[in-house]
């Protein structure tokens, strides 16, 4: 047995200029981050205040940083595909098929697992505990482990660009093609272990969020008083806990097939690849709702805040969220109507798929009716929300078309499908997360993001989206299959060129996001959020300072109704110092989470390359770290009452300096809630 398994010097990507430059960019990117940290002498800060932090807000911010980096990487993949297809009529373009296949596989994998999932966990971590008036999540240490396991998975995907190759089997990894018989290299293994390792993190996140919502709410925060974002997190967490095991089982068995020559999904020897497809989508469909429900939550918060009106139909939105959660487990077969189930089975899943559009429709109407007779202020988060509403409905309609099995037989695996699911996920998921990013950025950092560049980014994203994906609907109807490296139909090319132009405009949108961040950091002194309530908000996360103290609330808020913070402002008690400060117990920082993440990354790498001694060593180290941590009874520290008082004094001094809400200067301001005493 070789000491380095099947890892040899040939794994370095010197076989292709495109692959080598991708690897170079990845390595240079990592080096330049380290160089910047060294230049600013910030290693102590990074390690002691961030990497080891168990503070849910910092963990949330780190999740979102991972998401934004991976968004960039996933977009580069997309742009390369659009570029290839725009020119590859009757010629080979610039990407060889094997490389093109890696790119569409990594694009999907990255966007779902390492852009959307971290973005969602980040926003939830940052906001949900504050919305329910909690001081932290239920399990701060497990939260850190989840973060670093997600980072390990993302790291494994990035590593595949430098050492070896990535999967060519698409983001769904269907066998038998993804089996060892047809795909004996390391690509599919990279995919499998990136997904499996980050999947463990996702299950733990789901458990953490659900326990937090059920057990850690502030006094008076009854379930039906929770903000809608928290409600959507509640349902998403349930879906995470119950759907991710299916992914673990499917990928685990595929790994057994590939590594130990078993026959769960092989072509011969009794393997049943259709079982993989069922198991995969048993996770995969709920996953769509895991991603989109929190985005729906963001839209609900944003639309109420910027319509300056109470959310319309709160109860119906809660019920619709629950209904979607339940129904999301009853539609998975619509991903493979063509597999050959009986007509009755297909009909059942077709009908269920149409039915799941109903609660979503209820939500759309609720958001529209929230805006109706509201006084809308067109801040960037609101632009993204309106762009979502218009665009998402189109995607929903094409989804209902695809839900009809005979129609699906015609359109299966054409670019019509690609257009449909991008039409759901870009406006539905990504616009929601970007709206949340701009909405809650001041809460995380204490200053607002530049609104002009935010608006520019929105317009580039939405125009780019229409240009990039509407032609794919047409191409699908013309019969173009997905994942074509080159083609010989002249009529397709004009549409593909328009789609490439769309991708370029989306690129401008991403540039605008970068410029927005840079400009906002430069001009932060002019956009400080002194009150902690920059948008005249309605829920409890706006009751804390921006950025919040480590403990969020010195005194736990007493909730008396829905829209808890609005209600407090109305009663004139939002900024009262109700009780004297007391000692608070907070979680101590710990490197164990990051350590487990590094060990997880090395474990994945070792298994991919069959370096078994290293894999066993990593597993032993992880087990050891968990046992050491579990035996540690001294995981908290006490922040003394005087220290808390000092932070609170500074907070109220800042409040005194900024007595009016920042939104009061906005021309569309409809007036804050008047305290009862002055009404």
């Amino acid at each position: 047995v070789e000491i380095f398994g099947r890892l040899t010097i040939d794994a370095l990507p010197f076989y292709s200029a495109v692959a080598a430059s991708g690897a170079a960019v990845t390595v240079l990117g990592a080096l330049s981050v380290m160089a910047v940290i060294t230049y600013f002498g910030a290693w102590r800060l990074v390690l002691l205040e961030w990497v080891s932090s168990l503070d849910h807000k910092k963990i949330g911010i780190m999740y979102i940083m991972i998401a934004l980096v991976m968004l960039l990487r996933g977009f580069v993949d997309a742009a390369m595909m659009r570029g290839q297809q725009a020119i590859a009529y009757n010629n080979d373009g610039y990407l060889p098929p094997e490389h093109f296949d890696q790119i569409f596989s990594s694009h999907g994998t990255i966007m779902i697992f390492f852009m959307a999932m971290p973005f969602l966990s980040g926003l939830i971590n940052l906001i949900m505990p504050q919305q329910i008036g909690a001081r932290d999540v239920a399990f701060p240490f497990m939260n850190s482990v989840s973060l670093w396991l997600t980072a390990a998975g993302a790291g494994l995907v990035l590593l595949s660009l430098v050492v070896g190759k990535f999967s060519t089997a698409g983001w769904t990894g269907y066998p038998p093609y993804s089996g060892a018989e047809y795909n004996s290299g390391v690509g599919v293994d990279y995919w499998l272990w990136a997904v499996l390792i980050s999947g463990v993190g996702s299950i733990m996140s789901g458990i953490n969020f659900l326990v937090t919502i059920v057990k850690c709410r502030a006094p008076g925060m009854y379930l039906l008083r929770m903000p809608l974002f928290t409600w959507t997190v509640f349902v998403t967490s349930i879906l995470m806990i119950f759907a991710f095991p299916a992914l673990t089982v499917a990928c685990g068995m595929l790994a057994l097939d590939r590594t130990f020559g078993m026959h769960f999904f092989t072509n011969a020897m009794g393997g049943n690849m259709m079982n993989y497809i069922n198991l995969f989508w048993l996770w995969g469909h709920p996953e769509v709702y895991i991603l989109i429900l929190p985005a729906f939550g963001v839209f609900s918060e944003v639309v109420a805040t910027f319509s300056q009106k109470r959310l319309f139909g709160y109860t119906s939105l809660v019920l619709a969220t629950m209904a979607i959660g339940l129904l999301s487990f009853t539609v998975w077969l619509h991903h493979f109507f063509t597999m050959g189930s009986s007509a009755n089975v297909n009909a059942f899943f077709g009908i269920m798929t149409t039915i799941i559009a109903v609660p979503t429709g209820v939500k759309v109407l609720d958001w529209l009716l929230t805006m109706y007779r509201g006084r809308i202020i067109f801040k960037p988060p609101m632009l993204y929300t309106i762009g979502f509403l218009v665009t998402f409905v189109i995607g929903g309609l094409t989804g209902v078309l695809l839900a009809v099995p005979p129609v699906d037989y015609l359109l299966h695996n054409t670019t019509f499908l690609i257009a449909h699911f991008h039409n759901m996920i870009i406006p539905g998921v990504l616009f929601g997360y970007l709206a949340g990013y701009m909405f809650w950025f001041p809460k995380a950092f204490g200053f607002k993001l530049d609104e002009r560049w935010g608006a520019w980014s929105f317009w580039c994203w939405i125009i780019g989206f229409y240009l990039a994906f509407m032609p794919l609907y047409v191409l699908g109807l013309m019969g173009m299959p997905r994942r074509m490296e080159h083609y010989d139909v002249a009529a397709w090319q004009p549409h593909l060129i328009i789609a490439a132009v769309g991708a370029f405009i989306i690129f401008l949108g991403i540039v605008c996001l970068g410029v927005q961040l840079a400009v906002s950091i430069r001009d932060r002194k002019q956009a400080l959020d002194l009150t902690g309530d920059p948008w005249n908000g309605r829920s409890l996360e706006w009751a804390t300072s921006s950025p919040p103290a480590p403990y969020n609330f010195a005194v736990l808020p007493q909730v008396r109704g829905g829209d808890a913070f609005w209600d407090m402002k109305q009663r004139g008690v939002a900024y009262q110092r109700l009780a004297p400060c007391v000692d608070l117990v907070l979680p101590k920082n710990s490197f164990v989470g990051a350590f487990i993440g590094v060990a997880g990354l090395v474990l994945g790498f070792a298994i991919v390359w069959h370096i078994w001694w290293l894999a066993v060593l990593c597993l032993a180290i992880i087990a050891y770290a968990v046992i050491v941590r579990a035996s540690d009874d001294d995981t908290g520290y006490v922040m003394s009452a005087s220290e808390v008082k000092k932070i609170e004094d500074a907070r109220f001094a800042a409040l005194a300096k900024a007595s009016r809400n920042e939104m009061a200067d906005d021309p569309g301001f409809a007036g804050g809630p008047l305290p009862e005493s002055s009404a």
């Binding site: 060892a180 806990i241 590594t259 130990f260």
Partner: protein
Amino acid sequence: MTAATTMDATQISPVRYEERAFGFWLYLMSDVIVFALLFATYVVMLGNTAGGPMGKELFSLERAAGETALLLLSSATFGVAGVALARADKSRALLWLVVTVGEPHCAGVCRRAYRHHDGRHPLDHVQSPSPHDGVMA
């Protein structure tokens, strides 16, 4: 602040235990899904033995039933020990724990008796499909 209050403040409160119990229960529920799917896969692949012996020839249902009954019994007695523990009844808790530990040994005796009766272990003559690829090849 004295050392004593530091100690008190860092003690885990009953509420924290409640959170842990609920979190662990949720973890078990997600494990239930894992096992449900593995069982479903087993049912789907029941007949796919690539010419090898079928489950009927390998497993004895009577044996499995006996073992399952013992397993459930040990869960039940462990549960009783837990109840005794909750009531802070040390001697009764110990008694039921001893009973729980004793059961597998009974099972072992039963298994040996069964083997003696059958002459050989049912898995002795199994031939699994030969792996044609992967590291085991």
